[in-house]
Symmetry: C2
DNA sequence: ATAACATATGATCAACTGTTCATATGATAA
DNA sequence: TTATCATATGAACAGTTGATCATATGTTAT
């Protein structure tokens, strides 16, 4: 399968590409946003911090399912948590979450 | 499993949540960004439009694999295409792609 | 110490995803 | 028309993912 020539294009473009490792990390970040349960959790936390069982009640899902997803969100540093007695409150880690989701909303609103 | 009371919180938060349908669409959009092959394709298109076989060469992947991924990107309206003879050129559909990926990059650079 | 509540975790399983392979479509040139 | 290049597509298969279930950990009150 001989194909037409791209040598100039390829050298130009590949010079601008970040290393594979960075692009992999980037796609992993977006895949965390790529699930409706996690998007719902993040959106809920836009309002205020919430404990696990409140999120579970809000989304009508089991505590276990929510806890598993919060673990992913924590590892991606999208949420933080603090303990108060038996309860653990989760909150948005920073404002990138808002701006990323905001841009996503803009895109689908067209 | 009786749990503590959240009635006030739940009514507050659920009033702010977009409908499930919208949140599902949003997560589907982000899942398109959630694959390193697709991220690489989008990043390549930051520079300029490219034909399928150039992208395949750049990423050292088969034409088929790239074509399948471009189909997804097209359906998500992240890229557009134009034909010129036998060749089909793909390009970024709009600037949301840049800003979404830009925000993602900011998040992981911390 | 025991009971009750809040959360976390490991195993399991069905559903989904991305690549490959083979093949089809579409366009151009001979 | 036939050959060739460029791209698209469908089936198949391995790898990944998200919910569930059972159970474990951690905290507080009695």
């Amino acid at each position: 399968m001989k194909t037409h020539d791209h040598s100039k294009l390829l050298s130009d473009v590949s010079g601008q590409m970040p290393p594979d490792e960075v692009l992999a990390e980037l796609s992993e970040l977006f895949s965390v946003f790529g699930d409706s349960t996690r998007i719902k959790i993040l959106w809920a936390l836009f309002e205020r911090e919430m404990c696990v069982c409140a999120i579970a009640e809000l989304l009508k899902m089991t505590q276990s399912a929510i806890s598993h997803q919060l673990k992913l969100l924590r590892h991606a540093k999208l949420v933080g948590s603090r303990r108060e007695g038996k309860t653990i409150y989760y909150f948005l880690a920073d404002d990138h979450v808002r701006s990323i989701i905001g841009q996503g909303m803009e895109h689908i609103s067209e």
